[in-house]
Structure formats: C-alpha cells, structure tokens
C-alpha cells in the first residue's frame, strides 16, 4: 500500500478561484514555454504539465495523479518510469525507447509526447521531485493562494479532506477521488461534483490496473514448465513409437502419422 510518508497534493475545486498561479508556477519550475494566451485555456501537452481550466462552472486542475501502483511504470518495458518512495512517479529519459505504451496504459491520459522532435521524449509532471528532495513544496502548491492545492503527507491530506468535509456540511460530495481509485493516488481530489462532471475519468475501481497484467505474467513460469514437459513428453511418445516400430521390423508406412 501507499507509504504513509509519501508526499502528495490535495486538490479542492471548491477553493479554486481560477487565478492560474499553479499552472504558471509549474511552467516556471520546469522551464516550459508559454503555450496559450489565456492560462485558463491551456491544455496538457509536452510543454504543459499542469492545467487549470473552467469545466462546467468550476475551475479544475489536471496533472499527473502519481498513482501508488502506476500503470505507466508497469507498462514501461525498460523501467524508465518509476514510483519513488517519496511519492513522485519520475521518468528516467535516457532509458526511454519511445514505444509510448505508458500513454496507452495511463488511465488518466497524462503522459504526453514530443511528436515534433527527432529524438522525442515523454513529458509529464514529476511532482517537483527535486524540490521535494530539498524539503520544499511543489511549485503549484507554493503558488496557490487559497489552499485549493495543498501539499503534504498523503495520510495528512486524507485527514485534511475529511476535516474539510466535517467543517463544511453540504459543501462537498464527500468522496476523496484518488483514495481508492486505481489502488490509490498521491494526488487527491475533492469537490462538490462527480468526477465525470469535472472531466476526470469515472468508473475506476480499487484494483490497480497493473495487477490485471501481473495476474497473467505471474503464471508464465508455470506455463513454460508445464508446456516444456508436455511437449517433450508428446515428442518422446510419438517418436518412441516409430523407433519401436522400426525395431520390430514394421515398415508399413501407412501406419505412420495416425
């Protein structure tokens, strides 16, 4: 399960005023170019790792959820994506061969690709792993003036979310998105609306998707051993019969292959 000390973020749409500070602070920290005239109209891309958009009549952030059991890291054939003990899912770009299976696998559609480049890389939020290592908050949480993005230990954030539910009856749809979804995520979301009304994928259950794959991969050694014995045995029996036939002097070719 999640390391309780792992850092995370609590996103609260009821506190967001749509100032765009988080998105701009993210660009600043990652040295990314401006990609939209109006910050609130920006879309996630290889040059934008975090957005805040108006969805319906709320302001909603999108960024990497930093899953406890990330599909991207499970899918990556070269272990270029890694869930660190500190919380962030980080990307070791020198390993990447560009198969883009992480993009297929991610249930939130987060990893983006540098399609225009001749040596493209996958780009996404890394939860400011270097800032966390220095004991700093993420750039977005540092910039947020309302507590719509709160940084902390995941366990403390869950407690904070429940405290907000308790202190403000009727303000929230009392569900912490990311507490159970896909086995838990380091980024949690609370709101008065359903996830699908916020543009977040709905219908994610508590099973981490990588477990669906591992169930099958895990039995490969059994398949190999059983298969080898079975096929070897069939070979032995089928060919032994020929040898016996040859030794006994049966040369009737028509009995072969039945």
């Amino acid at each position: 399960m999640l390391n309780t000390q792992a850092k995370g973020l609590l996103l609260d749409t009821t506190r967001c005023i749509g100032c765009g500070a988080c998105a701009l602070a993210c660009k600043e920290r990652n040295g990314l170019p401006k990609t939209a005239d109006v910050v609130l109209e920006d879309k996630l891309s290889d040059k934008t790792f975090s957005t805040v958009n108006q969805v319906g009549n709320r302001y909603v952030r999108r960024m990497c959820m930093h899953c406890a059991t990330p599909s991207c890291a499970s899918a990556c054939p070269v272990a270029a994506l890694e869930k660190t003990a500190a919380g962030p899912v980080v990307y070791h770009e020198s390993k990447c061969m560009g198969c883009r299976y992480c993009m297929i696998a991610c249930p939130f559609g987060i990893p983006k690709y540098e399609w225009e480049k001749k040596a493209p890389l996958v780009r996404k939020c890394d939860l400011c792993a270097d800032r966390l290592a220095k004991g700093l908050k993420t750039a977005c949480a540092t910039a947020c003036p309302t507590g719509a993005t709160t940084f902390g230990d995941r366990e403390a954030l869950v407690a904070e979310a429940r405290a907000r539910f308790a202190a403000n009856p009727g303000r929230y749809r009392e569900h912490i998105y990311g507490f159970e979804e896909v086995g838990g995520t380091s980024v949690l979301l609370i709101s008065d609306a359903k996830p699908e009304e916020l543009g977040y994928p709905a219908g994610l259950d508590g099973t981490p998707p990588p477990h669906l794959t591992w169930r099958v991969l895990n039995i490969i050694p059994d398949i190999v051993m059983t298969g080898a014995v079975l096929l070897g045995g069939i070979y032995w029996i089928r060919n032994r019969r020929d040898e016996v036939e040859a030794a006994e002097g049966h040369h009737d070719a028509s009995t072969k292959g039945h």
């Binding site: 005023i17 100032c19 765009g20 500070a21 701009l24 600043e28 108006q54 969805v55 319906g56 009549n57 302001y59 599909s71 499970s74 899918a75 990556c76 054939p77 390993k95 990447c96 560009g98 198969c99 883009r100 299976y101 297929i104 696998a105 249930p107 559609g109 690709y113 540098e114 399609w115 225009e116 480049k117 493209p120 890389l121 540092t142 003036p145 309302t146 507590g147 719509a148 303000r171 916020l198 543009g199 998707p209 669906l212 794959t213 591992w214 099958v216 991969l217 398949i223 190999v224 298969g227 080898a228 070897g232 069939i234 070979y235 089928r238 019969r241 020929d242 070719a253 028509s254 292959g257």
Partner: protein
C-alpha cells in the same frame, strides 16, 4: 560477355515497385520530419496501424511457423514435412519485418535494445520483447539447415538435426507466450478498451486466433506458392489443416459466448454503435462464414473453397487486431484516428518486401526440397487429384452464397458503423462564471517581504500582498505573469533601483498609484 537480363515487368511487379517507391518517400519523411511529420498519431491516440497492423497482425500472421513445426516435429505427423520449410521461412521473414516496422514506430529506435538490458519484469512489452528476440533466433536456427544444405555443410547439419526437437519445443513455448501476450498488452486498460474486446481472456483469444491463423496462413501460402512457383498443391495436407482451423474456431466461439454471458454483454454486439457494427463484421468474416464453409466437406475439399475459407480467417484475424488496437480504443481517446498516407505506405512496403524476399529465397534456396516432398507424400487417394483439379465454377453454390453474403453483410455493417463513428463527449464546456464566494473566503495573501536596503535609503521597505491585492478578485498573474517569480527565484532588485519603472515605480507613478517620489514614509519605515 553474359548479358544481364532485367526481370520482365508484370502487373504485380509494377504494383510492388510503386509501393516500394511510396515507402521510400515515407521513410524519408519519417527520418527527417519525425513522427509528427509522418503520422496522424497524437497524445490521445499514440498507437496507430504501425502497431495495430504491422506488429499485432504481423506476429499473428507468422504463427504458421510454430503451428506447423510443432505438428511435424512434436506430434510426428511426417506427412506435413514438405510445408515445414516454407512455413518457417515465412515466420522468420515475418518476425524480421515486424522488428523493422517497430523501428519506424519507436520514437527513439536507436534504443530498441534497451529491454534486453534494462529489465522490467512487470511489463508485458518487456516479456514480448524478449520472446520475439529469442524466437526470431530460434526461427533463424530452424531455417538454417536450408542454407547449410545449399553449401553442403554436413557437420553443422548433423548438429542442427540433433538439437532440432529442443529448438522446436522452445519455439512453441516462446510463441505461446508472446502470441498471447500481445493480447495482454491491453489488459491494463479496462476503462479505455471497449467492452466488446476488453476481456480478462484477451491473452486466450489472441493465442487461439493465432493458432487458427497458423493453419489458415499455411493454406493461403501453399495456394500462393502453387500459383507463383508452380509447386504442387498438397490437398491431402491442407484439408486436415482446414479441419483443425474449424475446430479451434468453434472452441474460440464457445469461449467467447461464455465470456460475454458471464460479463452480461450478450446484447452489446447488437447495439446500434460504431463498435458493435465493426464487431459483427469481424465475427461474420472471421468466424461465421469460414466456419460454415469449412463445415461442408464438399467446400473443405475443394481447392478454391478451402482457399477462400482460409482467406476469410486471415481477414477476420486482421480485423480483430485492428478492432482491438484502433476501433476499440477510439471512443475513450476522444479522437478519431485515420492513418496518414505515410503510415499506409510504410505498412504496404513492409508487406511488399516480405513477398519479395520470400520469392528470392524460394528461387535460390532449397525451400521446397523435391526429395522430401516425394518421400513424405503418402499414397495419393484416387480422388484427391481429381479434387485438386476442380475449377472455381464447380464450387458448390452454398459456398459462393456464404462468401457473397458475408462480404455484403460485413461491408454494410462496416459502412453503417463508420457512419455512426463518434467520440465520447469531452468534459462539459465552461458555463457561466463560477461562484467564487466560498473559494475567496479561503484566500490568503502571501506573507510580507522586506527588500534589501540601499545605503542612502531613508528606511527599509516591506512589500505587503495584502495591500496590493484585491481580495475580492485576486489577479495573481497581473504581476506574476510577467516579471515576478512564484518560486522566489526573482532576484531582489539591486538596492537603490526600486524607484525604477521596472519595479515599484512602474505602478507608483502618480497616475496608477501614488508616486514613489511623493511621501518617503509611505513605504520607507523608520526604525
């Protein structure tokens, strides 16, 4: 001096030349313009036909290699020996071409060897990478006797003959693993792949369809070799393969029915949607029609009937792989994917090169060894030759009707499906201005900050967000959007320059706000 004779330009050679020319141009675009300049792939739809057809279908179409080698070497059905070599050659070429196609698709193809060194045993693709590498080596070894025979290297041949059973067992195991694992690729996306194709049984379906396809491709290849190289048609071998294909088709259909019943989606294929229409088309072409044909002995034993049945199976599996990788993934992606000209040109070229190399190999290597064919062939049943000589017009009427109906039905369903093609609606569009009262109550201006003091300054200056920000409508970006860092990275302005228009003086000019030259004590606090 011997005159070099150019091959005669036939229709098919002309087609091949045109395809290869387009492929060369497409390769140029891929190399110099990157993936953006050569594909219609996007962040929402990152896998196109280079994965869906070249890889998923390519590997499946090469399944004849392990099916036939297992039949001959493990099950000891010697009569199939004459078709072992062409089957293994096709498989080997297939895998080499799959790797070539993969190099086009990979963003950083020069790192293609990484999975062999940088392990992630939890990744299906890691497992497939290893299996395909090992199996291609096994296929090369299985085919190598043909090359060694050509150069009469008897010692090497003997060694290979001894280890052949081990190679074949290894080949069958590796094929079982990666044929099924191509289906396992999609196990990780239960919320993205449409329920008609997403199933916990994906690996089972992929393996069973690969087996069926192994039989069907062997039949199709034999017919094509018969036409191209004048090889005699081994009807007494191919008809049993057709029966095996029918058996596996039936088993797969029963498993699929049970799977759908348990998941409670038996009615889903008949919903009026894009996905359901294409699913039905896949079932009609790939399962229903070939099963009906192969079930009729008269059709099964008819050379054209058998060929058409096998061709339907091949088409059905291709449709299945494209449905899984493209049709089934479209709705959740929110985009409609249509391959670019470049993607199609590369794909056709890969197929074309496959045909070309196969033809060259058959010409220069003993792929169809005459002595083996004579030795292995059991006594020909009197009517077998008669059967093999039947022309197409003698194909039983029901068979012609089945093929015609299947194509008409699948075509109509496909066309209706494409007409209904739509993507899932995105998040709701912005509606009005969000009510911010509750959110603004949480607004907390950042702490006060004190600037460094110049020697001639009348007193230190502190900047208070509270007095600069309208708490009822904070506009963070009016200052932070341009000059001031959110992360404290902005260098404190050199002492003495605060009155400058780039700093406090920019707004405190006497117009927007009181001037920096007005009242010193308004900002400079004396200690």
């Amino acid at each position: 001096m011997p005159k070099l004779a150019l091959p005669r330009l036939t229709f098919w050679r002309g087609v091949l030349l045109a395809i290869l020319a387009a492929g060369t141009y497409a390769t140029f675009l891929r190399v110099f313009k990157g993936l953006a300049g050569s594909t219609n792939l996007t962040d929402a739809f990152p896998w196109g036909i280079w994965i869906g057809f070249d890889i998923l279908c390519g590997v499946a179409l090469a399944a004849g290699g392990f099916t036939i080698s297992a039949t001959v070497y493990i099950f000891n059905l010697e009569k199939f020996r004459p078709i072992v070599r062409p089957a293994i050659l096709t498989a080997f070429l297939g895998y080499v071409l799959v790797v070539v196609a993969l190099l086009f698709d990979l963003g950083r193809p020069w790192n293609v060897w990484h999975p062999l060194v940088m392990w992630n045993p939890h990744s299906v693709m890691f497992e497939v990478g290893w299996c395909v590498t090992l199996y291609t080596t096994v296929l090369a070894l299985e085919f190598s006797p043909v090359v060694f025979e050509r150069f009469k290297m008897t010692k090497t041949l003997h060694v290979l003959h001894v280890i052949m059973p081990i190679l074949v067992v290894l080949g069958v195991l590796l094929s079982t693993l990666h044929q099924s694992s191509l289906g396992s690729f999609y196990l990780i996306v239960p919320t993205k792949l449409h329920a008609l194709w997403y199933s916990p049984l994906l690996p089972v379906y992929f393996f069973l369809t690969a087996l069926t396809l192994g039989c069907a491709m062997t039949i199709v290849e034999s017919f094509l070799s018969h036409r191209a190289f004048g090889k005699e048609l081994e009807m007494e071998l191919l008809v049993p393969l057709g029966r095996v294909a029918l058996l596996i088709l039936g088993v797969t259909a029963v498993i699929r029915f049970a799977d759908f019943r348990h998941r409670g989606i038996l009615g889903l294929p008949f919903a009026p949607t894009y996905e359901s229409r294409l699913f039905l088309a896949e079932m009609i072409i790939g399962v229903l029609a070939p099963a009906l044909m192969l079930a009729l002995p008269k059709v099964r034993q008819h050379r054209t009937g058998l060929f058409l049945s096998a061709l339907l199976i091949v088409m059905g599996v291709v449709m299945n792989r494209l449905n899984v990788s493209i049709t089934g993934m479209e709705r959740s992606s929110g985009e409609i994917y249509v391959p670019a000209f470049t993607e199609i040109a590369i794909t056709l070229s890969v197929v074309g090169v496959g045909f070309l190399v196969f033809a060259l190999a058959v010409k220069y290597l003993p792929v169809f060894p005459e002595h083996e064919m004579k030795d292995a062939r059991p006594p020909v049943a009197p009517d077998a030759l008669h059967v093999a000589a039947q022309p197409i017009r003698s194909l039983p009427m029901p068979a012609i009707a089945v093929v015609a109906l299947a194509f008409v039905a699948a075509g109509a369903l496909g066309a209706d499906g494409v007409r209904r093609r739509e993507v899932v609606p995105g998040p709701p569009a912005p509606a009005g201005t969000p009510a911010l009262a509750a959110a603004l109550a949480s607004f907390e201006a950042p702490a006060e900050m004190t600037f460094p003091q110049a020697p001639d300054s009348p007193g230190p200056v502190s900047f208070r967000h509270a007095s600069h920000v309208d708490a009822s409508a904070p506009d963070c970006l009016s200052c932070h959007g341009n000059s001031y860092s959110f992360l404290g990275r902005t260098q404190a302005p050199p002492a003495g320059l605060m009155h400058d228009t780039k700093h406090c003086g920019g707004c405190h000019d006497g117009t927007s706000a009181f001037s920096v030259e007005d009242d010193c004590t308004a900002c400079h606090k004396s200690e």
